[in-house]
Symmetry: C2
């Protein structure tokens, strides 16, 4: 079989959704499970999540947050206490109604032991954590209360796609209580900034910071801050969100404290979360028609050493040379962790091995045979460059060069993704241009981010969504647009907002 | 109010179960949640779990295991595939039967969208992981398959106690597949040893390694290896267990591979787990009548610096001195992580602060006032020594001394727990002595570990359990007992086994 021109079929331009599934499969990241809408995250995918966790968790701790753990189940009566909140989640929650199994008359195992009150598998934990916080907070001295939880949540999705939308997913959810509106707003903004920095510097994705419009807010929130990234099909993905919840949840849960003046006041709360969905965003931002491309800071491993043995006699010496080199390299640190080096000693042809690592997105590859051993010089291949291109590196330089080159890859991916985003971001001022920009063009990739004026009317948002499946992703925070006139109504608009199709 | 003689009431000898709850509360480790049988793990308790996770996870990776993630839900039909297994868990599982909520005629929110097949919230994941492994394993080249998962599980318990027995708990579950019986048995034993080493060197608890008797095995296992520790009420707690599953689950799940000889064979599997229950064991092993005592390697923090200010003018200078000292100390590493140092700048009396840290079990305390600042010499107080006793340490020595002293504490706790266990472990050869040893003595703490001969008859085990609530905790692996005669039947016995009351 001759090697196809690209390792992944179909390519991005041929069929983007199928390309995504093929990349996942070729890189061995995840697979469907027998449970509707739930996935299995395989080791190569889970290692990315572990890296994201490690880096984010350190940021949360640096900013004064402590981890804790709250129950998986929420009694129905608790979920109901905040009206908008329950309304937002009622249509998609897993409900536990029984607490054992027993055999019925025909010997079939059926649910038994019906619960007095149904339990909801947490879709998010505001109500159960809020109830607990009500007990923890008594005085202004207990504030701010800054807690985070790493856990699984369940939202019953009818149409799922691995990482991007699954019934069960993994995430972290921060929950905080503050004495004043100002402090709570500042916290929500601070964590929004933490997500933005993480997305830029760790995931190498140039997410755009903004606020959600009222119709796109988290159910029960006063304000939702979001980061929105552009995928290679020019659709948007929502990254982390950070919510200023006002006193809505404090009232619903009874979070009250005695102020400095001795008065009973309701607390001001926030919540903020980032999920395994970001792995989907990572895949769609950087990968190409040969498979996964991973930014080094979150890559499951950094370097694959591929021993090249054409002759059985040389096998032992090449393998042991590679193992020794790997051992040396593992003593080098890259952004706080030891270099993750794999020696691929599988009994496969060299080309097959090389292509498997290209598809898995490892940032660097090193093929080593007797010739390289003798010369003490290797050709280092970067995943973000053409596959045949290598950088000549002497063995003596390798330990110093690898971290530098990894940083160059990280930087290159960020610049590339930024250029792509900017290339497909346009200011649109005419309704017909807006329509042309977003209208379906067969299977062709089209559209992008459109910065347009809007008068703030949710009816217009709803109409645009209905007509073109386009939504306002956010009201960007870091821009310099001047006032103008709404594209749809002609009415005054204080600033442009970001329209896009979205995952 | 004069300070009571002990910080915790009741004391261990007055009422051990209540002492346990009081220690938990005084140390702020966890609390009951509004969900039956589920607890909230508070930051001081969760930090212990994070340390346990970090250390165990590194051991799992060193021994070649990779982390992955599998669904929370198990379709009922999957759970049923292994008969003993489902029998073991049917009485205690949370069942999801609906996937949304809707308002009924009277406006009440009720479960809706009934599922075609009920989903079980995982009590353990053999069946869902086994099903997945059946797809991953095709050839002997895919073996061994060595996977671990960190997650939450649910077993519906009627009588719960925080950490020791809760409806939801956190754990890790390792699942592996091997080509031969020998390799799978070796894996189960290897992970048994990993747990033993971890318990001894990290938790400072002298657990006893052994095998379970057939009636105490994991449902579906061929052999279960366990570690059993003695608590201060002389009852046993089961630590990690490691199961050799034979081909039972491979057959139930269809895990087959092509052998070197080209034949289709069933794999040989293992599973092994350790849970948040170990935190309960940790508390009960080392704590005293003044509260929690923590081994430094898993302590939520290592050192509390308590600024002593009798005069408002000195406040700023003492605080900034303490902060600077803390900053220096945080650059010191202790077993791979930076020293965790807390400066307690709360506006409380010094004595109140000191007692709060004693109750929270921080290994070291340092009270610093103007006098200590001037002398550049401090009195370091150890949690495992009388509270007034301090070690004089010069500031210049502090960075070197603290890790040494922490290791001394770790070692002291282990030796103390070992002496306690040995003091209450007896060989018993007469039935009347056995009865006297275990019979209730009012509320008094009694019993311990009894090493006795037993003929292997499960009917005797059942009778002893019924009469005295005593079970065979394990058949110890590391002992040198000679053959003898069963205490109960007079029949021949190859060796002594370990009897105890247990959590």
């Amino acid at each position: 079989m001759s090697k196809p021109k690209t390792a992944i079929t179909p390519t991005r331009s041929e069929n983007y959704p199928e390309w995504y599934q093929s990349v996942l499969k070729a890189a061995d990241l995840a697979e469907h499970s027998p449970v509707r809408g739930c996935m299995v995250i395989k080791p190569w995918g889970y290692a990315i999540w572990e890296n994201m966790q490690r880096i984010l968790d350190a940021k949360f701790k640096e900013t004064g947050h402590a981890n804790a753990y709250f129950p998986l189940f929420i009694p129905l009566s608790y979920l109901e206490k905040e009206a908008e909140h329950v309304e937002g989640f009622a249509k998609e929650c897993a409900v536990v109604t029984h607490h054992r199994l027993e055999k019925n008359a025909s010997g079939k195992l059926v649910p038994a032991g019906e619960l007095e009150e149904p339990l909801i598998v947490r879709p998010t934990s505001e109500m159960i954590i809020g109830h607990t916080f009500a007990k923890w907070v008594e005085s202004y001295r207990d504030l701010p209360l800054l807690i985070n939880q790493w856990c699984n949540v369940v939202r019953w999705e009818m149409r799922t796609r691995m990482f991007l939308r699954t019934t069960e997913f993994l995430w972290q959810e921060g929950h905080t209580v503050h004495a004043t509106r100002e402090e709570a707003e500042a916290e929500a903004k601070k964590m929004h900034q933490v997500y933005t920095d993480f997305a830029h510097s760790t995931l190498a994705i140039p997410f755009i910071k903004g606020e959600k419009t009222p119709s796109e807010r988290f159910p029960g929130a006063v304000n939702t801050y979001t980061i929105e990234g552009m995928m290679q099909d020019r659709k948007a993905i929502q990254g982390g969100t950070s919510h200023f919840l006002g006193q809505n949840f404090a009232r619903a849960c009874g979070i009250q404290f005695q102020s400095v003046n001795g008065e009973r006041e309701f607390g001001w709360t926030t919540s903020w979360g980032m999920t395994t969905r970001m792995i989907g965003g990572l895949i769609m931002s950087h990968s190409d028609d040969d498979g996964l491309v991973l930014p080094p800071k979150v890559a499951a491993a950094h370097l694959a050493i591929i021993p090249i043995v054409h002759n059985a006699d040389a096998r032992e010496s090449v393998l042991s040379y590679c193992e020794q080199l790997a051992k040396n390299l593992r003593s080098v640190h890259y952004h706080g962790i030891p270099l993750q080096v794999i020696v691929d000693s599988r009994d496969l042809r060299g080309g097959e091995k090389t292509w498997s690592w290209i598809k898995k997105g490892i940032p660097l590859r090193l093929e080593i045979g007797p010739r390289e051993m003798e010369a003490e010089q290797f050709g280092l291949a970067r995943r973000d460059k053409p596959h045949k291109e290598t950088i000549p590196v002497r063995r003596s330089e390798l330990m110093a060069r690898i971290p530098q080159i990894l940083d160059e890859i990280q930087d290159h991916l960020y610049r590339k993704a930024t250029a792509f985003r900017d290339q497909h971001t346009v200011k649109i001022d005419k309704k017909s241009d807006f329509h042309d920009f977003f209208a379906e063009k067969g299977d062709e990739i089209h559209g992008g981010f459109a910065l347009c004026h809007w008068n703030g009317d949710p009816a217009i948002e709803a109409k645009v969504k209905e007509d073109l499946n386009v939504t306002i992703r956010c009201i960007p925070l870091d821009d310099d647009t001047a006032p103008g006139h709404c594209l749809f109504s002609g009415e005054k608009s204080p600033r442009r907002v970001l329209f896009a199709k979205a995952y």
